[in-house]
Amino acid sequence: MLGVFAINVYIGVYDTNLSQFSPLHWDLNWVLAAVDLAAAVILLANPRGIIWKSLAGVVWPVVYVANLFIDVETRLCLGTPASTCSPTVSDAYQYLILGSTNQEWDLWPYTIRLAIGLAIVTLILVALSLYLAKKGSDRISM
């Protein structure tokens, strides 16, 4: 999640399209970065209870990735002026997820794909960790 946090900071600092044409999404990006950081700190603290670990390592990555695809489905329209909406969902996908420079994505093309990948890796590792912990505690209780 620290990697995802770094990516959100990178987007916030260098994505001129976001800051210029979609200030609300730009603000939301910083909120995402803050929650990424909090989730990373929680996971590094390795709490004993599964609630916070689940929230930080399972729920949050799912929410994060879902948020990106909701942006695509809504053609980047949520909270923005109609003039900056992508013409089609496909255009929005090429722009946001694939980082197509032909669609005017002006950051590293793999930025969002890397963020999604890191979130999914976190999700898998935490889910596996929770599963193994539960299996271990079941054995002890037996």
């Binding site: 001129t16 399209n17 210029q20 044409f21 609300l24 603000d27 939301l28 909120v31 995402l32 803050a34 929650v35 909090a38 989730a39 700190v41 929680i42 603290a45 709490p47 004993r48 916070w52 929230l55 930080a56 980047l76 949520l78 909270g79 923005t80 002026p81 109609a82 003039s83 900056t84 909406c85 992508s86 013409p87 089609t88 496909s90 255009d91 929005a92 090429q94 722009y95 420079t101 032909n102 669609q103 005017e104 994505w105 002006d106």
Partner: protein, 203 residues
């Protein structure tokens, strides 16, 4: 920092996130309204790619700055740009999709183009975009407005992504001030489509 503190931090951030999301949803309508007004006023000069004239044509102007030299604008001074990923005289634009939302094509008819003194009508032409609309070209380069320009005279798109540049034109006169603009005064009745002469983008 103990776990309870961390949990509290996370809870606060989660509340902030939810509140912000709710705020976004609640303000989306008003935000759109505010910006729509801006866009509407811009659209009269940009979305149609022209300045309304009594003859219903498209007006072209020329602006000048010390750093950029002479460059093309529309009739009310909104800067026009070229895209170096386009190929001049190819008759095609490569800017579609999300690109087109940031860089709107200068649309219009070549037969009703209003040009200022100093510009040659044969330098202008049109291409047909995939939606069937006509986009005006200069020296074969399709012309665009930039969404980031919020007022006439701005050149915020210059050198954007190293692919967007103002469209320099040959010097026509030495202006008396640092920044000046020549409005369209003459009518060109050109029927040419594209020019075959070479062109150096303004960078």
């Amino acid at each position: 920092m103990n776990f309870k503190t961390l949990a509290a931090v996370f809870a606060v951030l989660a509340v902030v996130f939810i509140a912000t999301t709710g705020f976004l949803a609640a303000t989306a309508g008003s935000a759109s309204h505010t910006v729509t007004q801006t866009v509407t006023s811009t659209a009269t000069t940009t979305a149609n790619g022209s300045v309304s004239t009594s003859q219903g044509g498209t007006a072209i102007g020329i602006a000048y700055t010390k750093t950029l030299g002479f460059y093309l604008t529309n009739g009310t001074g909104w800067t026009l740009y070229l895209f170096t990923k386009d190929t001049p005289n190819s008759g095609l634009s490569t800017c579609y999709g999300q690109c087109e939302t940031f860089w709107s094509p200068l649309q219009g008819s070549i037969s009703s183009l209003f040009l200022p003194p100093g510009l040659n009508a044969s330098s202008f032409g049109t291409i047909t975009r995939t939606d069937g609309t006509k986009q005006i070209t200069y020296e074969g380069w399709p012309l665009y407005y930039y969404l980031g320009d919020k007022a006439a005279g701005q050149t915020n798109g210059q050198n954007k992504d190293n692919t967007w540049f103002v469209v320099n034109v040959p010097s026509i006169s030495v202006p008396s001030t640092t920044t000046s603009q020549t409005s369209s005064t003459s009518i060109a009745s050109s029927t040419s489509t594209t020019s075959s002469s070479g062109y150096s983008p303004g960078y």
